[in-house]
């Protein structure tokens, strides 16, 4: 046996010899400075990108987009957790896993969020801004881990941040916006070049958080599992994946366990149940149809998305086959494909489903350009790619042409879409209505209100009895039971014109028959008319 010396690596250098002489603080400083030296250039690229992303998201976020149904509900649940310790101001019926508003409530608790703004939506917008910044940074990080150049990573992050769809949908307080950073984080950790247990454990926990934030994230599990499997090293793959799977399942199991301990896992008379609601969501919800068929809800939604931005949506789809050539990009391609399958399969498609397509579409578009340009890192799973080959000129020309094409298309289409998002100053009608109510309606009146102003009426205006969120009026048995009178209706007009009104909100419609319009704000479906209900009418 010859005494050849091996190159010192982390394992041959004895940790005990190197570490103990340094005190903890010093070791921390050393590792921070090492980290900065390694990632300094990335930071220099990323910080300006984040500034641009933040500005594009923040300017005008209080007045655009218009109010829709869900955000106020999530904010009311976060408020309820923060101030009352319950998961919902009404009985929690397992419509979504609660991690999203638990995070919001935590942030509110730590920063006194609900008191820092005049409206709960101010706080909600702040949370969404933070989520957007995190997502943008993680798109860059994930791009780098997929083997992109710094320019590619920064381009992906910028496209993600400036895409009109991501600006408008990203401003709404949707759980998907909170789940996106967790999902991206899961992929970033799953592709950790260290290939240790910590990375895959972190990936599994991030994915668990994503699924607990918005359960639709579960759709992407095959893509993440594939990425983890491929990235794992044969020497510790079994242990790594077992630990990751165990920890992820354990974290996600907390949700059904919560229901089980409450006695609300299985359906039964007289109580809500997780499985009951899940069964309804999966099976009985009206189908949106397939995107491929004309005149379906999914098709309308899709057309609406396309008018805001077709570049990333269709570009991602076009880039998909190119990216299949690069093994490291295949799990991302699978993620996008899974998102598209939801659109095609013909079941219920959530309004904000586009949010689950965007990050992967961006990464594939940029990834395809990188692949065309001859970047070899996305094409191998090795930590250190073989010596970089010289790229043939035609590849660079082609990639440059593609990049310019994407940028030119964006420059042509996006500004027109982004302008109203950044410049609208008109106050949303519901906001005006809330102020009018606060000025004119005594605090002891029973108000049926839209969810987006509920927290403000309760928290800032102190209405007691608490206003009733309009869609709880006919769905929550407890609300029905305790209802003795209704004094005011502060609900957008679309509730009165919706086709499913008679089945969905019979009490609301009945109350309006016994009410007079007092004032109104805005026009059309988005307008709000405040009604005063006759005191002789009993619901």
């Amino acid at each position: 046996m010859s005494a050849h010396r091996t190159r010192p690596t982390l394992t041959t250098v004895d940790l005990a010899k190197v570490l103990p002489p340094l005190p903890v603080r010093r070791r921390l400083l050393v590792s921070v400075s090492v980290w900065l030296r390694r990632h300094g250039r990335s930071l220099a690229v990323l910080v300006p990108v984040l500034v641009v992303a933040g500005l594009a998201h923040a300017i005008g976020m209080s007045t655009f987009p218009r109010y829709v149904d869900d955000p106020g509900t999530y904010l009311s649940q976060a408020w309820s957790l923060r101030y009352q310790g319950t998961l919902s101001p009404y009985s929690y019926f397992y419509d979504h896993a609660p991690a999203g508003w638990i995070q919001m409530a935590l942030w509110a608790l730590l920063t006194n969020g609900f008191d820092r703004y005049g409206t709960a939506f101010g706080f909600g917008n702040e949370v969404m801004l933070l989520a957007k910044l995190a997502s943008t940074a993680l798109v860059y990080a994930l791009g780098r881990r997929l083997g992109f150049s710094r320019a590619g990573g920064a381009g992906a992050a910028l496209l993600f941040a400036l895409c009109p769809l991501s600006v408008s949908y990203g401003r709404w307080v949707f759980l998907d916006n909170l789940a996106t950073p967790w999902l991206l984080g899961a992929f970033v950790l799953a592709l950790s070049p260290r290939r240790g247990i910590a990375g895959s454990l972190g990936a599994a926990l991030c994915f668990g958080m994503a699924a607990l934030t918005k359960e639709t994230a579960l759709v992407l599990l095959p893509a993440l599992a594939w990425a983890m499997w491929r990235n794992a090293d044969p020497r510790n793959r079994t242990q790594t994946l077992t630990v990751a799977a165990g920890a992820g399942v354990l974290l996600m199991a907390l949700y059904p366990l919560f229901a089980l301990y409450k006695g609300e896992l299985f359906p039964g008379p007289g109580h809500n149940s997780l499985l009951g609601t899940a069964g309804w969501q999966l099976a009985e919800r009206p189908s949106s149809g397939s995107v491929l068929l004309p005149d379906t809800a999914a098709r309308h939604l899709f057309t609406d998305w396309l008018t805001q931005d077709w570049i990333l949506l269709l570009g991602g789809l076009a880039a998909l086959p190119v990216c299949l050539a690069a093994p490291r990009l295949r799990p991302i391609a699978l993620a996008l494909a899974l998102g598209w399958l939801v659109l095609l399969r013909g079941g219920y498609v959530p309004f904000m489903h586009v949010l689950t397509l965007l990050p992967w579409a961006v990464l594939l578009v940029v990834g395809a350009i990188e692949v065309v340009a001859g970047n070899r890192r996305p094409r191998t799973w090795a930590v250190e790619p073989e010596t970089p080959a010289r790229h043939p000129r035609w590849r660079l020309v082609m990639a440059g042409g593609l990049a310019i094409g994407v940028l030119a298309a964006a420059a042509a289409v996006w500004p027109a879409e982004l302008r109203p998002m950044l410049t609208t100053t008109e106050e949303p009608p519901l906001r005006a209505a809330q102020r009018w109510v606060a000025d004119n309606v005594p605090r002891d009146k029973v108000i049926v209100a839209h969810d987006s102003i509920w927290v403000d009426l309760v928290h800032h205006n102190g209405y007691n009895p608490r206003p009733i969120i309009v869609h709880k009026l006919d769905t929550d048995p407890a609300v029905r039971r305790d209802l003795t009178r209704i004094d005011y209706l502060v609900v957008p007009n679309w509730y009165y014109t919706a086709q499913n009104g008679p089945q969905g909100y019979p009490t609301l419609l009945e109350a309006r028959k016994h009410a007079v319009a007092v004032t109104s704000f805005g026009t059309g479906d988005d307008g709000v008319t405040v009604y005063r209900v006759s005191r002789y009418w009993e619901p």
Binding site: T6, K17, G196, N236, G246, F258
Partner: protein, 605 residues
């Protein structure tokens, strides 16, 4: 003395009352004023009793005032908790004021007793008192748990969470990063050049002594000796074999008689005697290795040891030891007293496979991961064999303590490891599958229990003897507490996990508490899953087939195994409390040897 005790108590109470009124008057919130008063009166009581009531008795007592202070506070705290707990029970039956005064009087008597026989006792603590104290503390703990069940569940769950997470993290160290499992991580050994000696303590080892010595005498190393340690008067069967082997390998095997003046037989006494004998014989050696009587070292083991000594400059090289007989194959079961009829063998093999598999995996995880991590952190309880010490370390120990191994300690191997850490010597851990020393599990579950009791008791001894307090950094001392207490933490954490959850559900604790109590159990399940994965890996690495029933046994037996460990922990604590420190040796049957040799075959090559 009772008079003085009462006088001190009344004075302190009066002063406390004055203080309380003054504080309330000064506008302190009542809870703060009460707490401050309690603290002050406790100190007054302590000082008064120490320097007035028991002054005469304590003159010249070796026990420090701090010890007494701790004992005093523990005892008073317990009696206070007890009184507070009993008051709501007694008050409705006796009336509030009667209950109050009764409890006060009973508390005073109790306090007097604990002061007299514990806090301010002038003699060494007797086993009975220690046991009473242990029971008292347990009773107070149980009472507190019953009274504040939710808080108790939270505390216990957090504790279990810490233990299970660290257990998982530590035992997975080898797989934290891919390069931890690099086959070339130990380098390639060159020609050995350090002379050394392998010590083999033997006692009633007729079944294995011949085979072991044959193997040890023919290892691949140019310059080493083997020194079996046998009691010639007491153990003539083994002595005969050893003598024959010494004749067969002259110059290789040196005999060492067990010191005849010792009434007790244990391993450290024999090892110390061997070192002295080496001195007397003038044998040149640079390292000392330890083999148990049934250990078949790999022929190339000394190559690696020699190389690692020189390459890493370590003072200790610990090589892997691996229990092998995990499966339900009848040949895998150690059979004391010859093979029983086949049906019984089959039955015994199948009914013992569950704990043998768990035991085998413990070694697999211990030597591959935990020891490596502990070596990296510099806290190192060593294994009992296949461990090699550099001469300078042995000499330092002898210069400091007069002998290398602690003869009173039940786990001298753990102690010497801790001493190495304290003295700043480096320990190198080598686990190469092909080089591990193969061993057998104890032959019965009772044997396993006894072995564990001994280890745990030994760890208590090492903990109490306090050498670890001299470790340089606070992090290391904390880790030492963790490492020495680990067997207890793990046993209790695993056994308590389902209990805590069941209590939380039964008591209808808040849901967050119940969820918290579920986490340790969930991690326990993950641990079982990892065990299954590791068993598969083990069976592949060593080419021993693991059958479905082996996996099932491992899964089903996971919790009972933890119960056995908990039982061992309780037993060890009781034995330590009662002062029973004698040695319980594990019997060796040779089931790990290929084609288990029979006693009559031993001696013929």
């Amino acid at each position: 003395m009772p008079v003085r005790f009462v006088a001190v108590g009344l004075t302190a109470a009066a002063l406390g009352m004055v203080l309380l009124l003054a504080l309330i008057h000064a506008g302190w919130p009542p809870w703060l004023a009460n707490a401050a008063t309690v603290l002050v009166t406790l100190q007054l009581n302590f000082l008064g009793n120490r320097y007035l009531t028991w002054r005469g008795r304590l003159a010249g007592s070796p026990r420090s005032t701090w010890t007494r202070w701790w004992r005093f506070h523990a005892a008073r705290g317990a009696s206070t908790v007890l009184s507070i707990a009993l008051f709501p029970v007694l008050a409705p039956r006796l009336g509030a004021s009667v209950a109050y005064w009764t409890l006060l009087a009973a508390g005073a008597v109790l306090n007097y007793c604990t002061d007299r026989w514990w806090s301010f006792d002038h003699r060494d603590t007797r086993p009975g008192a220690r046991l009473a104290c242990l029971l008292g503390v347990s009773a107070a703990g149980v009472l507190a748990a019953v009274l504040f069940l939710d808080a108790f569940i939270v505390v216990v769950s957090l504790f279990m969470l810490v233990v299970t997470v660290t257990t998982l993290a530590f035992q997975l160290y080898k797989w934290w990063r891919p390069e931890h499992g690099n086959p070339a991580r130990y380098g390639s050994p060159d020609t050995p050049r350090l002379p050394g000696v392998i010590l083999v303590p033997m006692r009633h080892e007729e079944a294995v002594a011949g085979t072991t010595l044959d193997r040890l005498a023919t290892l691949s190393h140019p310059n080493y000796r083997v020194m079996p340690i046998v009691d010639y008067a007491d153990d003539q069967g083994t002595a005969r074999i050893v003598r024959a082997k010494a004749r067969e390998y002259p110059g290789r095997i040196l005999e060492c008689p067990y010191p005849s003046d010792h009434p007790v037989h244990n391993k450290p006494i024999g090892l110390n005697a061997a070192i002295e004998r080496l001195d007397r014989l003038g044998v040149r050696f640079e390292w000392v290795g330890i083999a148990d009587a049934e250990d078949l070292f790999h022929p190339d083991l000394l190559h690696v040891v020699d190389y690692r000594f020189r390459r890493t400059n370590a003072a200790v090289v610990q090589c892997g030891v691996q229990l092998m007989n995990f499966n339900a194959d009848p040949d895998a079961v150690p059979q004391p007293g010859g093979p029983p009829p086949p049906l019984r063998r089959w039955w015994r093999a199948n009914t013992s496979a569950w704990w043998r598999a768990a035991n085998v995996l413990e070694y697999f995880k211990w030597f591959q991961s935990r020891l490596k991590l502990q070596a990296a952190m510099g806290i190192m309880p060593l294994g009992g064999n296949t461990v090699f010490f550099r001469r300078r370390f042995i000499d330092t120990l002898r210069a400091r303590y007069g002998r290398a191994w602690d003869e009173e300690c039940l786990t001298e191997d753990c102690k010497i490891g801790i001493l190495a850490s304290v003295l700043g010597y480096r320990v190198d851990v080598v686990y190469l599958e092909e080089l591990v020393t193969r061993e057998e599990t104890p032959s019965t579950l009772r044997g396993l229990l006894r072995q564990r009791v001994r280890w745990m008791q030994g760890f208590i001894q090492v903990f109490r003897s306090g050498e670890w307090l001299a470790l340089p950094t606070r992090a290391q001392r904390l880790l030492a507490v963790y490492v020495l207490g680990f067997q207890f933490f793990q046993a209790f954490a695993a056994a308590l996990a389902p209990v805590a959850l069941a209590m939380a559900i039964w008591h209808k604790s808040p849901i967050v508490v119940t969820l918290l109590a579920s986490l340790p159990l969930g991690l326990g399940l993950l641990n079982v899953a990892l065990d299954v994965v590791l068993l598969r890996q083990f069976s592949r690495t060593f080419g021993i087939r693991a059958r479905l029933r082996d996996y099932l046994g491992l899964i089903v037996g996971a919790y009972p195994f933890q119960l056995v460990l908990s039982l061992a922990a309780i037993w060890a604590i009781l034995r330590y409390t009662l002062g029973r420190n004698n040695w319980v040796k594990t019997a060796h049957q040779g089931a790990h040897l290929p084609g288990a040799p029979q006693p009559e075959l031993v001696g013929s090559r």
